[in-house]
Amino acid sequence: MIPVKHTESDASTEGLDWQTESTGADMTRGDRIREFYERSIYEPAVVAWADMRTRVGLLMLSVYLAITAVAVFGLWREPSSSQAPRLLGMFENWSYPLGTTSAGVDLTAELVHATPDIMLMVLAGGVWATGLAVLVGTVAGYKGGRVDRVLMSISDFFMAIPGLPLVIILAITFSPENPIFVGVILTINYWAGLGRSLRSQVLTIREDSYVEASRTMGTSTFRILRKDVIPNLMPYVTVNFVFAARYTIFASVGLFFLGVLPYSQPTWGVTLARAQENGALFVPEAAHWLIAPMIFIVGLALALILMGQGLDRVFNPRVRTRMAGESESTAEEDETITGGTL
């Protein structure tokens, strides 16, 4: 979705349906498709690609998607014990690029085959946390009054509970095995902080003139939220989606590492835990056993952060207008950095 452009002329007419429709009526269908393509796909892509961070981030993310594909289509051997020499270092033998464990398991196989589940977990965590935050934040901010107070009390309550201990207790209560369910449990209270900050955004957007215009014209609340409010939240939503996704990786690996989450097949955190149990900290020949999963974890988090910062450019209306040359605004780009250091 593309945010409303914030030039003076655009802003005041955005909510006026008859105007957009009358200009739309003059266009042929092909024109409209072309315009949609330019506004929604081509321009953002150019803006995004112009930024080094997006380029690197996209590249890294596609590596992870490729790894996922490799695992899904079975292009690399499945991990099993005694399939390789014991404790082979990294890049010593190119059949086992990341080395092997003390039980002779190919580390590459173990990490690659864990990737699809992690990607699913991360996606589920990000979608759940940001989706719920958008719902709560927009409804609370736009409705106000009692609804607002109740919703904000709920999110205050969830913000007050430390996430990991809560997740640990929930994890032993429910023993989630399904990666999607794990992703949701991990971010069970992550949405609250984001919901609160989205609400304060909605509070300012609500007072903007074009929203007021829509309201005066009797446009339905749902349509105002969908057409006027949510598009303007997109920069926050995309950036925070990435942060929620990063939190999900960090928390999932951490809890698998602790052995709190149940597992039927190894994930990156389980690999890390087994390495530690087998004394990889003291045995110099086993250090790669710890390093290999770390590369996977840090790489994915880095890809997501770089993507988030690039996407901020795409969705940030001020930056976009500047790129399109429609305004000489010198407003500084927001560095929307939120969230914790988990």
Binding site: M159, I168, V260, V298, E335, T341
Partner: protein, 334 residues
Amino acid sequence: MVNYYVRRTARVFVTIFGVMSLTFGLIRLLPGGPFTLLRTQLLQQGIPPEQVNQQIRNLQNVRPDAPLWQQYIDYMISAVQLDLGTSIQYSRPVTEVVAQAAPWTIFIVVASTILMFVFGILLGAIQAYWEGSKFDTIASSLSIVGMSIPFYVAAILLLLFVSYRWGLLPASGTANPNIENHWSLDYAISVVLHGALPILSYTIVGIGGQALAMRGNSIQVLGEDFVEVARLRGLSDGRIATRYVARNAILPMYTGFLLLLGFRLGGTVILEQIFNYPGLGLYLLDAVNSNDYPMMMGTFLVITVALVIGVYVADLTYSMIDPRISSGDSSEAY
């Protein structure tokens, strides 16, 4: 203004009440009920049922055969009296174990958060001042890399190299067990050395995010009109930097600071396990692994209450440094 403090204080009690209810609910939710196993064990040992019930009552402060609402009230009343039941594995009051563990966790969390904040703000301010310089570019890139490293990865790497490879700092524990536990210089040094690695792993990965936030805010503030006006008025650079720029740039980072406190208190479960550091997190994990329900709920409750009170105190001090927050309903927007 008074109204704000009253409301804020009321919220603390409401939240704590809510969390206490939640822990009670979670105990009921746990698979098979927490004491089913214990009860069968005790009954198999030939202990009469009344005695078994008495024992379970002592462990959790609830009458196991009473109706649910009665159990709930029992639980709440004793929790208010700071009686969190008795740990199954240690046979000691949970409050006692928690009181012993809490100072260590607070030490790690507070020390690392302050260090991270101070260094992050300094770094970000310098970057903003020389925006676009080579130093700025390198520092920003390093910050992004730092943000993508989870603290436990940093912890394992520090342990691997600093502790086991080079033997510079101790790998586990809170202090040298050979030194007597009282206030002496040797003991203090030992405590700092043992806390160094946990604190360091929490700090180094967090500096980057703080620096980036501070950098962004400072650049924004530097472009504001009032800074220009202050310059035209001929105020000294020091005054502009501290009173005009730093103050306005640090305030927005405050919300993030609160969230951070929460993440870190929770994160000690992982950190303390890696360093075998006997704080709240290690006891929580220990209780989870040995099905010690009173202990588990007790530590969870204490971690949460600590967080709620910490945020409350920070909130009050914040309203002192930012006059806008206490001026009526405007605070509701944040």
